[in-house]
Amino acid sequence: MEPSQRHVRLMGGRSNPFQTLFALFITALFFMFFQASILKNLQRQQQMLINSGSEVHNKGKYSHLGQMAVAPPEIARSVHPKFAQKLMKEIGMKVNGTLLRGVKKEHRKYYVPSKEGTFTCLSGNQTVAWISVNNDYCDCADGSDEPGTSACHNGKFYCEPERHFLPSSRVNDGICDCCDGSDEWKGVTVPPDLELPVSEGVQLAPCSDTCRDYDHMKLREHNILKEAASLKPLYIEKGLGHGGENYGPNGEFYFLTKKCYVFKSPGYMYELCPYANATQNGKDSWLIGTGGKLEGNVEDGYNLVMGDGKGDHCPQGKKRTTIIAFTCGVEDKVKYVSEKETCVYGVKFDTPAACPDLETIELT
């Protein structure tokens, strides 16, 4: 499955102004809650912060404290100056040393300190000091106290503009995983001596904001998906009376039995007739699959397993099998064929038949 297809939703415009407002509101809320207790806790906090490791956002405020030996005493030297400036601005906004980085908006209601100054881990069965939240040290067994750092092996960072979680191992690792670069907030770079090459699709910190591109891509995908899904009823219509397991719940795959599809790969020409037969034509011609059994569902994707091909030269009495993995697309088209293991052929096949129902797309 293409991962991108798991996140099909219409993206709104950039929501920065709203985010900022919301963040300010939350900050103000904290300030009110904690004004009284700050003084009382200051001494303790200072101690904690001395020992707080690499959380950069502490440093602007408490850099006067004796931390010559404590790492790192300032923003990591690898931070790009431009980025550092941005970082400092952000730090300036914070109260109480805590930024709710990596928290999904809908979850921010859980990230509120209790009267006692504690945070209840999302699992509900552990309580830690509020200052433990996003302080780059894992306290909650479920990893929920460190949504914005890499401290918990099971932590999750929410990439807001892309609306999905990243494993916390992606946070501050030097590679931009969230289109707004928010996962690389510290600006840590991969060691420059590695001289990593530049490659399309991999952006190294310091990150630039590529959410516009991301949104465009998502929108394009969404539109294609919608277009493709709008064609699905046609397939259902053609498959009337064939609903049931082997042609999909509404018989939508039945239509594919009516046609054969050709794909040219390096060295071979494949002819695929779903539910009938598949052949690989090169110097010789091999029957690489016959019949067909449909597996899977619309959420996880459908596979058509065409077994019982020619068994010559196959290991241990195996017979050639072709597995067609259907993905939602506007036309019936073979996108890729490869003998992924000896005598097993993997096919990527676009068809409206594999699309979700149009209504379900509108809902997201």
Binding site: P3, A69, D173, P191, L196, V198, S199, P266
Partner: protein, 964 residues
């Protein structure tokens, strides 16, 4: 592959030939000729009784050794080197013995023909420049012996007895080694080939070189002398000569005849390990770690071979050969290197017979109980007797001594110590991209993706199948941009094709191995007809090295590394699937003389090529299948084509232990097994085991099902992910161990007895092993194993690394090992560094924080080390590293640079310290740069585990943490 089922002997030839019908037909025709009645392995490969010289040497059992020396011939060559003359009294052949005293309790014994009719082969490029030490010789005329005393190791004496010749080596007056005490020394002198003409030059070299000595021996050896002097009766003598046995001048195995132009030239020697019951080493064999007695069965064989579907519990030869043996008892460890590159068989005879060596040893141990000893009989097809004795006395001493002689391990780049993903084959760029993305999608770390032979244009190495890999640079960059690497396979057989630049160039330069008649030798391998580079020639090696710069190796980048396979060399249609022994190499030596060197020469040249392409800045990485003495200097090895069976999973431990004891630090076995399909349980257990083995790579045969971890049920995928993540967490410890191997030769993966040398019950243990000094690992190698019985040696107790449960020791305990866990325990008294933030690859973890796991001994102490550097350059050779000694005692944990001049700047900091086995403290303080800071902590009273939060100190600093 239908042929596989019916014609197992041929399956190796055709496992790749599916799309190559012509080649397949050839293979089938060839197959018809072959004897199909024999089993796969036993049929293709020789037994001792099918090897003429092995038979001759094995049958040589004189009542008394015919080799004698005399005190008068003793010559001092220099302060550390004496020489003696030796005579074979059966035929009056003259030999020269050289005895050298080397630094660090090491002695060298060399015996060669005094005046051979042709030079005998001596192994080049293998022994490092080692210092000598002074030695004095004290002749004892009364008993006809000479005592040699070492200047620097005064406890060590070597005693040569003259008649018959024998060498005994003592440490603190106790005999340790005894040479020729079993009378098996036997050197077949070089001779002219007998021809029907009775009178020829043959006897010329046999004329006595030292008439005096000759006379001196005459009394004792009248019979032999008589024979010797009857020169005119040449023909008659040839027939009655006990040395003139079948197979001396020609030998046929299956369809192959070895012409043996030099005739017999084998050597044999018995070396006894006195007072030892356990010997180890001489890899590579799919057998137990402790060598077994070979009396009445096959000897261990050392001859680099490509063995298809090798069998377990076998002494048959495999891909690598290291004729190094270690003897160990509860108070001493010693080593013995038999320096030879030819086919070698080794008989091991363990005995408790005190009438053996000791009975003849001037009454040593007279009246005492039977003393164990291991008599080892070395038999090599050619060469000279060249033996190095290392007197230890503890395991680390022997490894230091051995690696001083043969070189310490290369320092692997960090990424090479992580997890590797391989398969025969990732099919095309799309496949590579999908697999790479799969690891990220499932949050499984990996550092390197491998491409097997199918990536090439028709098995032409250094080329690409441009239809499947149209843009290899872009493909490599896509992985490398995230810090990952790729490896391509580069084998030494070169497709015969004048349109192939490598072939054309090497042919023009005359760089291929030639037949006896001077024509180019051609053998079959993956590409079909192939020529083989003559790597014994330095100019060929240099030329090979020049092929690795990206300008020459098109489509390669500096992030592409190399895998040298099939370098035994594998020749599908050759005798025993390798090269004909009578092929002549460039320098005039036959293949028989150099065979076991071929593989290491390829790896060495490849390393040189990788060094050259980065102007010597970047550390190379080359994996080799064949190996030899000193392979550790060049890179990693793996145990070849194993099988997806529980037995092979279990066998990986003793195999890798033996390899490690012979100096190779970086070794592994294909995870999951190369042949056949592992069930998900087996695969999960294999990952758990291999995560604690030095070289960690999953690999599979082209006919197997795909095995990427996410293709299994989530349960198994998660277990595999957890195992790989465990490896990544432990990288700081592994990297430290590799640095220590680089410095002092200690194998990262080592047997229990290495750490507990006095504990006799560990001497045979090879189902568990140590990683460094701290971790004991016992993989699960049987299905449905819920509980593992683990022997825990030593008196300092052990902590389960997952549950922190404490086990007092020594003891055998039952440890719960459900599917997601194997027994891994940290020894009380040790400190293990980890990085608990596992990223998608190691490069992205460079500056991540450390956690120290301090397992406190009952005495309240613990020690450990941590090594850090940039992970990929040679900067560490210029003091760009941090090497911290970690010590916990008197409730203070101290980190101090072992070498204050060394420094590598890193942001990595100390995230956490976990103390196991301590009481609840009241206060914890850290001291750095003279400043004291209190630290937060938590305490778990049931497990007695104290976790110190965020000390925050930069790891490269010196600091201390006091617990009050």
């Amino acid at each position: 592959m239908f042929v596989l089922d019916y014609f197992p002997t041929m399956s190796i030839y055709i496992k790749q030939s599916k799309r190559c019908l012509g080649f397949q037909l050839l293979a089938i025709v060839f197959l018809m000729i072959m004897d199909e009645t024999e089993a796969v392995d036993a049929g293709n490969f020789k037994r001792c009784d099918q090897s003429a010289f092995c038979q001759r040497q094995r049958n040589f059992k004189p009542e008394i050794s015919p080799y004698v020396t005399n005190i008068d011939s003793l010559r001092k060559i220099d302060n550390s080197h004496f020489a003696l003359d030796i005579t074979n009294t059966q035929n009056n052949k003259a030999f020269v013995l050289d005895l050298f005293a080397l630094e660090d309790s090491t002695l060298r014994l060399k015996i060669n023909e005094a005046q051979p009719i042709a030079e005998r082969y001596e192994v080049p490029n293998t022994i490092e420049d080692v210092k000598a030490q002074n030695m004095i010789a004290v002749p004892n005329l009364k008993n006809g012996s000479i005592v040699f005393h070492l200047g620097d190791n005064t406890n060590i004496q070597a005693v040569i007895s003259c008649s018959p010749f024998r060498l005994d080596i003592y440490d603190e007056k106790e005999p340790v080694f005894s040479v020729n005490s079993r009378n098996l020394m036997h050197i077949e002198h070089l001779r002219q080939k007998p021809v029907p003409k009775p009178h020829e030059e043959k006897t010329k070299p046999e004329e006595p070189e030292n008439p005096d000595e000759e006379q001196a021996e005459q009394g004792e050896n009248e019979e032999e002398d008589k024979q010797e002097e009857q020169e005119p009766q040449e023909e008659e003598k040839e027939e009655s000569d006990p040395d003139d046995q079948p197979g001396m001048w020609e030998e046929t195995f299956k369809t192959h005849t070895d012409s043996k132009p030099r005739g017999p030239e084998s050597i044999g020697l018995d070396t006894s390990f006195v007072n030892f019951a356990h010997v180890y080493g001489i890899p590579e064999h799919a057998d137990k770690m402790a060598l077994k007695s070979t009396v009445g069965s096959e000897p261990y064989r050392l001859y680099n071979l490509d063995v298809f579907e090798y069998e377990l519990d076998s002494r048959a030869a495999l891909y690598g050969s290291i004729p190094f043996m270690i003897g160990h008892n509860s108070k001493r460890t010693v080593g013995l290197l038999w320096l030879n590159a030819a086919e070698t068989w080794v008989d091991v005879d363990s005995t408790e017979d005190n009438k053996g060596v000791l009975g003849t040893l001037f009454g040593y141990f007279a009246g005492e109980e039977a003393v164990p000893e291991v008599n080892v009989h070395w038999m090599s097809e050619s060469g000279v007797i060249d033996v190095y004795f290392m007197l230890g006395r503890n395991p680390a001493d022997v490894m230091r001594q051995y690696t001083k002689l043969t070189g310490t391990s290369y320092m692997p780049p960090m990424w090479a110590t992580t997890y590797h993903q391989s398969r025969w084959n990732y099919k095309d760029e799309q496949d590579v991209k999908t697999v790479d993305a799969g690891f990220d999608e499932h949050d499984i770390p990996y550092d390197c993706l491998w491409l097997d032979i199918e990536h090439t244009d028709g098995k032409r190495y250094f080329t690409w199948d441009t239809l499947k890999f149209p843009d290899p640079v872009q493909m490599q960059n896509a992985l490398a941009a995230k810090g990952r690497k790729m490896v391509t396979i580069i084998d030494p057989h070169i497709k015969v094709d004048t349109n192939y630049h490598i072939y054309r160039e090497a042919q023009n330069k005359g760089y291929f191995i030639k037949n006896k008649d001077g024509s180019e030798f051609k053998g079959w391998c993956w590409p079909g007809d192939s020529a083989y580079l003559d790597l014994t020639l330095p100019e060929v090696r240099d030329w090979w090295a020049s092929q690795f710069v990206p300008e020459v190796y098109k489509g390669s980048t500096l992030n592409l590394f190399t895998w040298n396979d099939m370098n035994e060399p594998s020749v599908f249609n050759g005798p025993e699937i390798t090269m004909h022994k009578d092929i002549i190499h460039g320098a005039g030596w036959e293949h028989r003389h150099v065979h076991n060197l071929y593989g290491i020469l390829l790896q060495m040249s490849t390393v040189k090529g990788q060094l050259a392409r980065s102007q010597g800045n970047e550390r190379p990485f080359v994996l080799s299948r064949a190996f030899y003495i000193g392979t550790q200097k060049y890179g990693a090895i793996w145990t070849g084509d194993n099988t997806a069976e529980w037995g092979h999973l279990a066998a990986s431990v003793p195999m890798l232990l033996s390899i490690g004891l012979c100096g190779i630090a970086h070794s592994g076995a294909d995870v999951g097994g190369f042949f056949k399909n592992p069930d998900p349980e087996m695969l999960s257990r294999w990952y758990q085991a291999a995560a604690y083995q030095p070289f960690f790579r999953a690999h599979a045969h082209i006919d197997t099902s795909r095995r990427e971890p996410w293709l299994y049920d989530d349960k198994y995928r998660d277990i595999i992910r957890a195992a790989i993540r465990e490896r990544y967490e432990l990288l700081p410890y592994w990297y430290t161990l590799f640095f220590q191997a680089h410095k002092s030769g200690e194998p990262p993966m080592r047997p229990l007895w290495y750490e507990f040398p006095a504990d006799v019950s560990t001497f045979d243990k090879d189902d568990s092993h140590m990683v460094g000094t701290a971790l004991l690992v016992q993989p699960v190698s049987k299905p449905n194993t819920q509980v593992t019985s683990v022997y825990l040696p030593g008196a300092t107790g052990w902590f389960d690394v997952k549950t922190y449960q404490y086990y007092p020791s020594p003891n055998t305990v039952s440890i719960s090992t459900p599917l997601d866990k194997i027994a891994v325990l940290q020894r009380g008294g040790t400190i293990v560094p980890r990085k608990m933030r596992v990223r998608r690859c190691s490069a992205l973890m460079t500056h991540d924080p450390y956690t120290l796991f301090v397992a406190v001994s009952p005495q309240g102490t613990a020690v450990g080390q941590l090594y850090m550097d940039d992970g990929h350059t040679f900067g560490f050779q210029n003091l760009k590293y941090n090497y911290k000694n970690l010590l916990f005692q008197n409730n203070v944990l101290i980190s101090k640079s072992a070498n204050p001049d060394a420094s590598w700047d890193s942001d990595a900091w100390l995230e956490r310290v976990v103390f196991m086995g301590v009481s609840r403290p009241t206060k914890i303080e850290m001291t750095v740069d003279g400043q004291v800071h209190p630290l937060e902590f938590s305490y778990e009273s049931t497990t007695r585990v104290l976790t110190v939060r965020k000390p925050g100190v930069k790891m490269q600093k010196d600091w201390s943490i006091a617990i009050q």
